[in-house]
């Protein structure tokens, strides 16, 4: 059964102190996590004691000001970051869309990029071939699919990225504020596909500043502020 459970998860980024001649005074900021010093290093507490639980069919919207820790949280869920403290348990096949261009090679054609992205996500060649036409159809790229990726607009790239990430029906889909790149008709299609995913008892976690989008797509809303959970509704 697909599920996500986080218990008291925290994450600190350690930065090496760079030699600097500028004044040491710091301004307080309403954005971001808390900057502190530990020994010679600066640390940023990006997540602080985050706990929540998601069940199959849940669609969680992550909101909060810039630097609240949304991206960091998604990367913890995906497994890119190991939390500094706390426990993460995830059941289900996860796919994620962070940065649209990750894993796309500018010089290669869209078709070749589908293969590369598929391989990177751990698909077999057979799975890739089977999904190829469907991905091309869904992205509506038409003949552009045989042009190099560098000839695509932001929105076209977003369509392709989304089509690939959802083609194999991941049980858990993580998305970082980017979906706004597509046009209205694509956003409608994307929403439909996310609905289908969630109906098949998947989990979606979507970080966005677009309140309307969150309301349209999500069933739960988690507000982060300075790395802490402010509210979960």
């Amino acid at each position: 059964m697909t599920s996500i459970e986080l218990n008291n998860v925290s994450l600190v980024y350690r930065l090496f102190e760079k030699l600097t001649l500028s004044a040491p005074g710091r301004r307080r900021s309403n954005l971001g996590g808390n900057i502190a010093k530990s020994g010679t290093k600066q640390v940023v507490q990006a997540l602080d004691d985050v706990s929540f639980e998601l069940k199959a069919g849940d669609r969680l919207g992550l909101v909060g000001p810039n630097g609240a820790g949304k991206t960091t949280l998604l990367k913890v869920l995906y497994g890119i970051y190991q939390p500094s403290g706390g426990r993460v348990s995830i059941t289900g096949k996860v796919d994620a869309l962070f940065n649209i261009s990750i894993g796309f090679r500018p010089e290669a054609t869209g078709r070749r990029n589908i293969v590369l992205r598929g391989l990177i996500s751990g698909w077999t060649m057979a799975e890739i071939e089977e999904k190829m036409e469907e991905i091309i159809d869904f992205s509506e790229l038409g003949d552009f699919i045989d042009l190099p990726f560098k000839a695509y607009s932001q929105g076209m790239a977003a369509r392709l990225a989304f089509a690939i990430a959802t083609a194999l029906e991941p049980e858990i889909l993580l998305m970082d504020e980017w979906i706004g790149a597509g046009d209205a008709s694509f956003q409608e299609k994307a929403k439909q596909r996310m609905d289908e995913l969630a109906e098949k008892a998947g989990i979606i976690v979507l970080a966005s500043h677009d309140d309307a989008l969150i309301r349209r797509v999500c069933t739960k809303k988690l507000t982060l502020r300075a790395g802490r959970v402010e509210s979960l509704t």
């Binding site: 890119i80 962070f98 940065n99 090679r105 010089e107 590369l116 391989l119 060649m125």
Partner: protein, 263 residues
Amino acid sequence: MIAVLNGAFDDISKAVRLYRVWIALAHEDIGDQHRRTTLGPLWMLVNYFAFVSTFVFVFVTKDASNPSYPAYVAIGMLVWFYLSEIITMSVSLFQREASFIQGTTLPLFVYVMRLTMQSIIRAGYSLAGCVLILLLSGQGIDTNWLRSLLGLLLIVLATPAFIMVFAFLGAFFPDSEFIVGNLMRVGMFLTPVFWVYSGQEGIQKYAYHWNPFTYFLEGVREPITAGIFPTHALVVTGYICLGTWVLALLLLGRYRKRIVFLI
């Protein structure tokens, strides 16, 4: 210790299962480097050829007594370029792969194998040039060539370990990129790539005996230029290979989850 090694083997076995990824990416890399040229990857052959001929042309008068000198330089350059390329490229490996490392959950060993694969493909072109020079310089094909394969095999086996060690070095000490880059440039002159050691005293003696690269070179070269089986060189190379792998596995097991925070 056991846990550390388990972590390393876990990373490696996941990467091995993803072999299609690094093979595909390595091919893309080679393709991209030469996409807009007419000769394409053949440029690597031309480069190698130009380099070897220059050295042979400049030094052959001095060493006229040594008929196998072209073969000596050709093999020396082949191995030296390969090793120096993987080392200089590894120091910045994780930095170059930052967007992948921060955006996917691919095991780190995938990037190591991507570079290994890429270097081997490139070396294939130099190897073709090397064989050509050997034939042109009058070294007939004989069974001694087969003995060189063992040396080549050890080099290939050591490659992922070297890449890992230098990649972690570069991630933890960014300055090492420049230190290593400079050392490798000087290293070519401190390694018997194009000069022949024949028992002189002084700096050449140390540069010959205390330089690990010497043994990698001699393991491949001695069978062809001297006609002997390079037992000593192969034993030393074997130990270096083993030691580097142990170090590499410990680093990978211990620090693989830290890399994403360092780049």
